[in-house]
Each structure stands twice: as C-alpha cells, then as structure tokens.
C-alpha cells in the first residue's frame, strides 16, 4: 500500500498534473463563486476538455474543480450574501453578517482555513478507511435519514433570535413551502393552482436568493441616500491575518464538524445538503455566545465550512467504493471515469489501484493548492469593492437574477425569486427570523419524503423510526436538542420586544 501511495504522489506531483490541479481549481472556484453556474455545471463544462488528457491528469483537474466549486460558493455567500447551494446557507447567514460588520476579511480567513482544513481531514479519512466508511453509509436507510433531518431541524430554536414563536412560525412556513410542487411519493401536484410556474416546486436556491439577498438589498435601499454606509468597506486580507488561537480554541468543535461532514457527506441523496446544517446546529448549541448566532457567529461559520468541505471527501468515498454519486457534481465524475474507460466501484479498486490512489492524492493536493488559489480569487472579487454603492447594489441584484435563472435556465424561477424578495423584506421588517424559514424549506422536503418512504417500507408501522438503533439515537439527540433551548430561555411567546 505504501508504494502505491509513493507512486501516486510521484505521478500527481508531475508538473503537468500540478498545472491541471491549478487550472481545474481556479475554474472550480470561479464556477462556484459565480451565481447561476453550479459546481456540477462547472465540472460538466470542464469535462469536454479532459477527453484528450491522460486519465490521471484529467482526474487531477476534475477533482480540483469539484473541491474548488464547493469552496468558491462561500466567497459569494460571504461577500454578497448570495448563496449558490443549499449547503451554503449557514455560511451566508453568519459570514455575510460578519462582512456587514466590516469584518469580511476576518470571515474570509475563517472560511478559507476551515474549509481547506475540513477538506484535508476528510481526504485523510478517505485514504485510511474508504471501505469501512462506505459500509457505514449503507446502514442509513430512509428511517435513519428521517431522524438525521429531524436532528438538522432541531436547531430551529437556537436560530430564532429573540422570539422562539416567530422562529417556529418561520420554520413551519418553510416546511410548508417545501411541499409545493410535485409530490415525490405519489407524483401528484400540490398547491400549484394549475400554474406551470410552480410545477417543479419552489427551488431552494431561488427562494434563498430572494429571502436572503434580494430582501437585504431592498432593506438597505430603504435608507436615505446620504446615510449609506458602504457595506463593502472591507479591509484587505492582509490587514486581518488570522491568529492560530482563533482556530485552536475551537478545536473540538472543528474536529466534530469534520467528522460529521465526512460521515454524513457520504450519504447519497441529500447527505451533502444536510452536513453544514448539522455542524451549524452543533455550533449554535455548544457556543458560549448564543446571542451571536445569526449575527455573525464565527463558531457557526467555522463549523459549517469545515463540515461542508469535509463532505467532499465523504462524497468521493462512496463514489470510489461503490460507484454511487452523492450529488450531481460527483455524478459528472462518473461520466469522466467512463470517458476514460473505467467504471467507479468495487471493481476499480482491484483493477486500477493506481487511479484510486492517484485520486486520493489529487484530492489532497487540490486542497493544498486551493489555499493559494482561493486567496487569489478573493482578491479578484474584492475589486467589486470599488464600485459606487448604488452601482454595487444594482450589480448584486443582477447577480441574484442570473443566479436564480441559471439553475434551471427558466424565467419562471425569477418570479419566485421576486416574490421571496418581497416576503423576505417583510420578514426582516417585522423581525421574523429568515434562517429558520430557509432551514425548513431545505430540510422539510427531505424529512417528508424519508418519513413516507420509511412508512412504505414498514407497511405503515411508525415504530420503524425507533426500533432501528441509529435512528433511535439520532431522534433522542434531536429531542434533547429541541427541548434544551426552551428550558434555557423561557420566553416562548414574549420576547419580540427585545428582538
């Protein structure tokens, strides 16, 4: 095994492969950071360039693009408040809040180091224990998934800020929104009122762009012109160099997030979506500054970023071990394997260990090189800083529009985005927290479908949720975590005054 690694390092560190990693990483960062083009689209566009390359060079490029895409999405989330993927929501909430306090550079440093750290951690786990991890991931059936999502939802009270009641209202509103569109179990339509706009349901990302980004621009526009404080008065990255203690004092949280990210990220069907919420919830419960959650909590940001990027290693694990893609981006990697005449899965382990170990090393090196590449591309995005405030707002609005359009290349999504922009504005105005609504929207669908799948499996017996050990443990954790904050601050109905 050691000489396999030795050979893999020797191959990946060839100049042409390093070049491939840098180019792929840069492209991935760009694709992740630009709204309207997802990580998977970035991988697709790159795919046709890799036909001519040797397999290992192609995988260096594609793995770097994949890792870069996941990393790059957070740049836009932090600087402009536009989430590109559902998993970027905690980053958008906390990171952008920090940016608005003028601490964008600090938030970016936290994000860079944590996401690279999470990525490297998961690759190391992947190198050591891919088959074990894959077998563990398979133990997650619909009941386990349901309990996991409930655990993700259980963070709602911590996210609610002043009024827990308004938080729950927002969360269940989000859960309701998730039921709009085609029912994933019966195929019937719900709440579409015969229109074609809602036929595909309310897309998370469209709604998130409206609720988080558009509404914020509208809210800022409310202030009279002369009162604009340029919300983009960022310091340079060099002015807020991070201290080691910023990270080391949270080492246990970061370790937990990395483990959760790697394990949950390997679950096909939504694992990658839910990891950042689980880690964020963990941070919001364990933090010593719960009042900061939702208003620029560095712990929330660090935990979410660590888990999010640790998810890349998790996804690759299940892809390499069983050939199952955890998400769309990894599904495109399967296409890349097939172009080069390989099928990822158990057979590839035996037949082409050089490729498998090459990919491990390429993932590791991608994360290492991404550190420098991310810093470079952040400098590019900070140039937007120079625009006058009004033009900056207009530019962000256009990025929102392109981001919402690019998901399905459909104008319909723009109406949905607009509607959510207005809804988000009123929520902000009347202090209804937006984070729980987004949480409900993203996780509600997963919860409903996995619950109904579980019941189909048990032929209608709800005990299936508690008779399976993993599911039971997760549900108990969720129950504790829902009830705990209610005891901590007994102001279920009051409290909107001091919100």
């Amino acid at each position: 095994m050691l000489d396999l690694y030795w050979n893999a390092f020797a191959t990946v560190l060839l100049p042409k492969n390093i070049l491939a990693i840098c180019l792929g990483g840069l492209w991935g960062l760009l694709a992740g950071a630009l709204p309207g083009i997802s990580t998977s689209m970035g991988v697709v566009l790159l795919l046709s360039f890799t036909y001519a390359l040797s397999p290992i060079t192609a995988f260096c490029m594609l793995c770097a693009a994949y890792c870069g895409g996941i990393t790059g999405g957070s740049i836009t989330s932090i600087l402009f408040g536009i989430p590109g993927e559902p998993s970027a929501i905690p980053t958008t909430i906390e990171g952008h809040a920090l940016a608005k306090q003028g601490r964008a550079a600090y938030a970016l440093w936290l994000f860079i180091i944590c996401s690279i750290g999470g990525g490297i951690f998961s690759v190391l786990i992947m190198m050591a224990a891919t088959p074990v991890m894959a077998n563990f991931a398979l133990r997650f059936g619909p009941p386990e998934f349901f309990s996991l999502v409930v655990l993700g939802l259980s963070v709602v009270a911590s996210l609610s800020g002043g009024s827990v009641m308004k938080g729950f209202l927002a969360c269940f509103f989000g859960i309701f929104l998730a039921t709009v569109g085609t029912d994933g179990i019966t195929g019937g339509e719900r709440f579409t009122f015969g229109t074609e706009i809602l036929l595909g349901g309310i897309n998370f990302v469209t709604a998130m762009v409206g609720l988080l980004a558009v509404s914020e621009i509208l809210e800022e526009a409310e202030q009279p012109f002369q009162e604009y404080k340029s919300s983009v008065a960022y310091k340079g990255l060099r002015d807020e160099l991070p201290k080691l203690s910023d990270y080391s004092k949270h080492w246990f949280l970061l370790l937990r997030s990395a483990v959760v990210g790697t394990v949950v990220g390997s679950l096909p069907g939504g694992g990658a979506t839910i990891v950042s919420f689980l880690a964020y919830g963990d941070a919001s419960r364990s933090t010593k500054h719960p009042e900061k959650i939702g208003h620029g909590s560095e712990e929330g940001l660090m935990a979410a970023e660590t888990a999010n990027n640790a998810g890349t290693g998790g996804s690759m694990t299940i892809l390499l071990a069983l050939g199952l893609p955890g998400g769309n981006a990894t599904a495109m990697l399967i296409a890349a394997f097939m172009i080069h005449g390989m099928q990822p899965g158990p057979m590839l382990y035996a037949s082409r260990p050089d490729i498998i170990y090459g990919i491990f090393v390429a993932m590791l090196m991608s994360n290492v090189f991404l550190l420098a590449l991310t810093i470079m591309s952040i400098k590019l995005f900070l140039q937007l800083n120079r625009l006058p405030y009004t033009a900056f707002s207009a530019a962000i609005m256009i990025l929102c529009v392109i981001g919402a359009f690019g998901l399905n290349n459909s104008m319909d999504d723009l109406y949905v985005m607009f509607a959510f922009g207005v809804i988000g504005y009123f929520m902000r105005k009347y202090k209804i927290p937006i984070a729980p609504a987004v949480l409900g929207l993203v996780l509600g669908d997963l919860a409903e479908l996995s619950l109904r799948r579980s019941l189909l499996l048990s032929l209608g017996d709800p005990l299936i949720l508690v008779t399976r050990p993993i599911s039971l443990i997760l549900l108990l954790t969720a129950a504790v975590s829902i009830l705990w904050p209610l005891f901590k601050k007994p102001k279920l109905l009051e409290g909107s005054e001091n919100a």
Partner: protein, 170 residues
C-alpha cells in the same frame, strides 16, 4: 409600527387558513401504508395557523394595552414624511426588479439589463452623472462577457426586432 405587525399577522393567518382549506383536499391521496400527500402540508399548515393566531392575538392585546395607557403621541409630521419617502423608495426599487423580470423575455437580456441598472440606481437616488452613464454600460458589458460569452448561459434574447439586436452579440 404596531399596526403594521397586526396587519401582517392577520394576513399570515388568512393565508395559512386558505392554504389549510386547500390542503384538506389532498387527504386520501397517497400510497397504501404511508401517511399520504396531505399529512405533511396539514401538519405544517396547522402549526403555522395556530402560531399566527397566537401572534395576532398577542399583537392585538399589546395594542389594546398601549391604547389603555392613554392615546399615543401623534407622530411628528417629519417622521411621517420620512416614512412615506422610505416606502416610496422601496416600492420603486421592487418595481424596477419586477419590471426587469417582466421585460427581459421581450427586450432580451442586454437591453433590459442596461435599462434596469439605470432605473435601479435612479431609484436609489444616485445623482452623479458619471455613475449614471457609466454603470449601465460597464456592468452590462462585464456581466454579458462573463455569463453569455464565457459560460454561454442561454439568457433570453427577446422577441421581434430585439431578437435581431441580441443576435448581433450572441
């Protein structure tokens, strides 16, 4: 502000009640064994309806309490004017965005984007001539090059004459 919150909570209650009545029609749809299409909507809408009712009642009680403590000071005329100016600006900005979304399929991406930027920064009370002239041109050009030329996103080209105009570029 209190009145606004009362209205909002009432609107929420009405909306959720309406959706709840829709959700009742979903009952009975589903596969045998599972809870059906209607369960999850009824659950979420039930909770939201109850919570918005609690919210509305809470608002009304607080309003009544404040009224009892003597009629509130009528707000100063300037404050009222400022509030209306804010509302007007928000309405203008939202209208710009809505207008942009509506005209893009007709005029095509390039023209409508340039128009939107101009309208939006005017709505934001920008008065510097250089900003007004340059930003529609520069931002549109940059966005066009990045998203249409580089990423080849199929942004709308418009209809009729405008298609021909858009095809000059992409």
């Amino acid at each position: 502000m209190k009145k606004g919150e009362i209205v909002l909570s009432a609107v929420c209650l009405a909306f959720f009640l309406f959706m709840l009545s829709e959700a009742f029609q979903l009952r009975g749809q589903g596969r045998s064994g599972e809870v059906g299409s209607g369960f999850w909507p009824l659950l979420s809408l039930g909770v939201t309806t109850v919570l918005s009712l609690v919210w509305l009642v809470g608002n009304l009680r607080r309003y009544a309490r404040e009224q009892k403590g003597g009629p509130a000071q009528p707000p100063a005329a300037e404050a009222v004017a400022a509030a209306w100016a804010r509302r007007k600006k928000i309405a203008l900005c939202s209208l710009c965005l809505l207008g942009y979304i509506l005209i893009t399929p007709l005029l095509g991406f390039i023209l409508s984007t340039a128009l939107f930027i101009l309208a939006f920064i005017l709505a934001l009370e920008e008065k510097r001539a250089a900003v007004l002239i340059l930003s529609p041109l520069v931002i549109t050009a940059v966005v066009f090059v990045v998203f249409v030329k580089f990423i080849m996103m199929p942004l709308p080209k418009g209809v009729g004459v405008f298609v021909e105009f858009s095809r000059l570029f992409y």
